[in-house]
């Protein structure tokens, strides 16, 4: 939800920077997603007094300007500037978005600031040239003084906080955080002798669905555009101005959080407004020009003949305000949250109004909202407000929560005094009597003492809560998890790489591996219509992984994951090998697993893919094998007795993004002392250049023939550029550098 800084100031005085507001709100529970600040005060109005050519660049100019007192020399590239023009000038230190103006030298000449285009100032998309001002703009003054200079905050309001969906609501939050009172101007309405109740009546048939319905009658309105200030506020928050009456109802909603609706009184048949469930067969053409059939669950506002609005969701076309509207009925009501949610879901309409009703409205704020709107309509649309509010309602419900001072401290881990707790709650609008808190009328999310604990904690400040260690105790018995991880280590030791694939299978995947889809679980709302099954095998995923990596040979991959069918979810291991020595790798893997776990040969049967299957999965390598086995009883199948420990790989990782461009490979072999760790050497190679994308050890042996205590190690070194294909020359340069560093650091010798 968007909030304007200037609008908050209608309710509460504060002298905070945008950043401070961001902090205060975010760390008290109202997350500020982002904000767009008004223009920096360092952008001032200046006049050009001299323009010269730049000595070293034809397209640049040396411009001298004055702010009325001081002169500045700047370098500028715009074509549209002339002597005597009035222009916006960004002084050193100005922040324009993320960009800060600093003293720089442009082609050998220093520039102490910048002349700005409208785009640079964030005023428009115009980047054609420097913004030219007229002589009304006074030299030396901040440009911001002449512009509408407001900050728009974009807030994430959690679903429990319907009360924060307005400027008043956010002002209340600031008030609690800053311990500063907010004020709501009292409304005085001038109405004549004629009463609203002489024009209309209101009745609610079911007060659980509508606990409160207020209406005012306003005569002789002049429908027309709203004044600029009102349109501006709506526009800045993303609402389109329509006409004065509709704009005022929208304005009040953003202002106070109370959705309002205005009906054209002369389009209403009879003189009674009924709030009731829709009757069988009833339909309504809503304001979005859709004809909607209404079920009996839908609450409607009706005149004596027909529905004129879907309560709390959208008005009807049959009672819409138009240019010719003279008299209006203004509605302010509270509707049941659950029913509004259901209606909105059933009809597929979410409006600003339904969104707020679903999240709860301040039941004590209805009268103020309708009065403020009526006053604005009388002032801005010259309407005559008839005396009195026509209403039907049930008694407001009070929520009282006993304050468990000690339990609250125990739960937060603090030692806050009862006085401070009370003070925090009072600033939040609670009324406190005898250790009991009466929940403010605008908060419908609070029922239990734990809710109060959250209120106290967030205003007290999470950053003031002391960290407290929890006691160490003996680790529990090792669960299945540990055995799975052990199995992974066995495979990784054999050269296998662990992959994670998606749990979804397409129709095509199931055909390719000949699955009977009737046994598969099916997603009702898949991401793509054809990818709707849940996998009952990990093999299709592994085969796709093989197909995706044609440059690797051999490919040794495995996955441990859950597979599904209509009856159960099973944890499963699948292994696949492809390419060079694929058969011996998978045989070795099976052997190692069987050495450690009591699987039968059948359970770990090796399947060779047919040529046809390989083609279907677009695998280019001639041979591939797979094994798949359930792991549900893995713990019982373990042959080893010792306590199982988790192995944490401690190798250093040098992450390099994957380039779209091909990499260059070189092989290097060195002879060096056996004591030198391979990992250290690999680290060294990565650090040589960011273009080194992969270093792979592929051969290592020790022999006295190489010299005493020497070993030979050989690496594949892959190099790449992110934005182009690396040339041989570039690769050779890096390789040379690596050789030099390795030879010098480790007294190593390069082998031919």
């Amino acid at each position: 939800m968007k909030i304007l800084k200037s609008w908050l100031k209608d309710y509460i005085e504060f002298d905070l920077s945008d950043n401070e507001i961001d902090d205060k709100l975010t760390f008290s529970g109202t997350l500020v997603d982002s904000y767009v600040s008004g223009l920096d005060q360092n952008v001032i109005i200046a006049k050009i007094i001299d323009i010269k050519k730049h000595p070293n660049a034809d397209r640049l100019k040396l411009v001298t300007i004055t702010d009325g007192q001081k002169k500045y020399d700047i370098v500028c590239g715009a074509d549209n500037i002339k002597v005597d023009q009035i222009v916006p000038f960004a002084k050193l230190g100005t922040k324009l978005g993320d960009f800060e103006i600093k003293k720089i030298s442009i082609r050998g000449v220093e520039s102490s600031g910048m002349l700005c285009s409208e785009k640079e100032l964030g005023i428009s998309e115009n980047h054609e040239g420097i913004m030219i001002l007229n002589s009304d703009y006074q030299l030396g003054k901040p440009l911001a003084d002449y512009l509408d200079n407001d900050t728009v905050f974009d807030l994430e309001i959690t679903p429990n906080r319907g009360d924060c969906l307005s400027h008043l609501g956010i002002a209340r939050e600031l008030s609690a955080v800053l311990h500063k009172k907010y004020r709501r101007e009292p409304i005085t309405l001038n109405s004549g002798a004629e009463t609203a109740s002489s024009k209309i009546s209101v009745s609610i048939s079911d007060k659980t669905l509508c606990p409160k319905y207020y209406a005012r009658y306003i005569k002789n309105v002049n429908i027309g555009p709203s004044p600029k200030w009102l349109q501006d506020r709506l526009l800045k928050l993303g609402l389109k101005p329509i006409n004065n009456v509709v704009d005022i109802t929208n304005y009040i909603m953003l202002d106070l959080g109370q959705p309002l609706h205005a009906f054209d009184a002369n389009k209403i048949e009879g003189n009674s407004i009924q709030v009731r469930r829709a009757k069988p067969g009833e339909e309504i053409l809503t304001l979005d020009n859709e004809s909607r059939k209404l079920s009996k669950n839908v609450l409607v506002i009706a005149d004596s003949k027909k529905p004129i609005a879907i309560a709390g969701v959208m008005g009807g076309g049959n009672s819409e305000i138009s240019e010719t509207t003279k008299d209006i009925i203004l509605e302010a009501a509270i509707f049941d949250r659950k029913n509004i949610r259901k209606t909105s879901k059933d009809l597929g309409i979410v409006t600003e109004a339904s969104y707020r009703f679903e999240r709860g409205i301040d039941f004590a704020g209805v009268e103020y909202a309708i009065n403020k709107a009526a006053k604005m309509i009388s002032e801005l649309a010259s309407g005559a407000v008839l005396s009195g509010i026509v209403k039907d309602e049930e008694l407001d419900k009070e929520v009282l929560i006993p304050i468990e001072y000690e339990k609250i401290n125990d739960l937060i881990g603090t030692d806050i005094s009862p006085q401070e707790t009370n003070s925090i709650l009072k600033w939040l609008g609670f009324e406190i009597t005898d250790s009991c808190a009466k929940v403010p009328s605008w908060r419908q999310d609070l029922q239990i003492w734990q809710d109060l604990a959250e209120e106290v904690a967030r205003i007290y400040g999470f950053s003031n809560i002391e960290f407290k260690p929890i006691p160490k105790i003996d680790p529990p018995k090792k669960s299945e998890f540990y055995y799975k991880e052990y199995l992974k280590d066995l495979l990784v030791d054999q050269g296998f790489t662990e992959v994670f694939n998606y749990s979804f299978l397409s129709e095509l995947d199931s055909k390719v591996i000949g699955l009977n889809t009737s046994e598969l679980l099916e997603v009702i709302n898949p991401i793509q219509q054809d990818i709707k099954y849940l996998r009952n095998s990990l093999i299709p995923g592994l085969l796709k992984s093989i197909a995706k990596n044609p440059t690797f040979d051999p490919i040794l991959v495995f996955e441990i994951g859950n597979v599904f069918n209509k009856n159960e979810e099973k944890i499963t291991l699948s292994i696949a090998t492809s390419g060079k020595n694929a058969r011996s790798y998978i045989e070795k893997a099976v052997e190692i697993i069987r050495n450690n776990f009591k699987f039968s040969a059948d359970q770990l049967a090796i399947n060779e893919l047919t040529r046809e299957e390989l083609t279907r999965f677009k695998i280019k390598k001639p041979i591939s094998y797979t094994v798949e086995v359930e792991l549900n009883d893995i713990k019982k199948l373990a042959k080893f007795k010792e306590d199982i420990q988790l192995n944490i790989p401690e190798k250093s990782i040098h992450y390099r993004p994957i380039s779209k461009y091909p990499s260059v490979t070189r092989d290097l072999a060195f002879v060096l002392d056996q004591k030198i760790k391979n990992d250290e050497l690999i680290d060294q190679m990565y650090s040589t250049s960011n273009s080194v994308s992969r270093v792979e050890l592929f051969d290592e042996y020790k022999s006295d023939k190489l010299g005493k205590n020497k070993k030979s190690i050989a690496f594949h070194i892959y190099m790449q550029e992110m934005d182009r294909t690396m040339t041989d020359e570039e690769a050779n340069k890096i390789v040379k550098k690596i050789i030099k560093i390795v030879e010098n650091t480790y007294q190593a010798k390069l082998r031919d």
Partner: protein
């Protein structure tokens, strides 16, 4: 000689398990296909409340769903164990959302659950702080800000400062008494904390990985770097 590699997610999960086992946390892995009860209702997320809308759910034809959070295991674990309870649940979660470099339909969470007498928020802050320090180093800074989850009260989100920038890591809070009650445990006697940060994100932050979809890409150029 081909070198094998553990998936980067596995590596982080192992570090997490190693850290939490020293404080007595059991490892539990709940089902990925679960009922509406365990995934939503038992966690105080009523169908008629807008908090349901926060997570886009994959529904199955048989009425079940793909869990949207590892929190589905809170009540499952709680109803089969007596307090004191200390458990972590690493696992896959599913969200029916449009994917981009920051969003995936499948991602991993690390659920943590701690239920005992007189557990407090200061302890929750402490253990999260310690854990991320063990992963990123002792200079690591974690901060907390209030948030809302129906299954915790108070609720919070936490952020990590890495190379001068703050990154959101996930949510946590004090387990809601209704959730404790749904475990069959007396909420007047016991309370606790729970947390459920993502697993991919800390890895992305640490190594500068810009696209979450790489984790399930099967691309060996990515996986063989870990």
């Amino acid at each position: 000689m081909v070198k094998g590699n553990l998936h980067p997610v596995t590596q982080l999960i192992r570090k997490a398990v190693k850290f939490f086992e020293s404080y007595g946390f059991d490892v539990f892995e709940g089902p990925e296909v679960d009922s509406e009860w365990y995934n939503f209702d038992a966690l105080n997320i009523a169908a008629d409340h807008p908090s349901r809308d926060v997570q886009d759910t994959f529904w199955l034809k048989d009425g079940k769903l793909l869990r949207t959070q590892t929190s589905n295991s809170q009540v499952r674990y709680g109803e089969t164990h007596k307090p004191p309870i200390r458990a972590i649940v690493p696992g896959i979660c599913y969200r029916n959302e449009a994917t981009d470099s920051g969003h995936e339909v499948m991602f991993m969470q690390l659920e943590g659950l701690y239920i005992d007498k007189k557990v407090n928020m200061g302890q929750l802050f402490w253990i999260l702080d310690e854990f991320y320090k063990s992963f990123y180093g002792p200079e690591t800074k974690i901060r907390f800000r209030p948030h809302h989850f129906p299954f915790t009260e108070p609720s919070l989100e936490f952020e990590l400062k890495f190379q001068g920038k703050w990154f959101e890591l996930g949510g946590a809070g004090m387990v809601h008494p209704k959730v404790i009650e749904n475990m069959g445990i007396d909420p007047d006697k016991y309370c606790g904390f729970a947390f459920g940060p993502g697993i991919e994100r800390p890895i992305m932050i640490k190594y500068g990985i810009s696209d979450i979809r790489l984790f399930r890409s099967g691309d060996l150029r990515f996986l063989k770097q870990f």
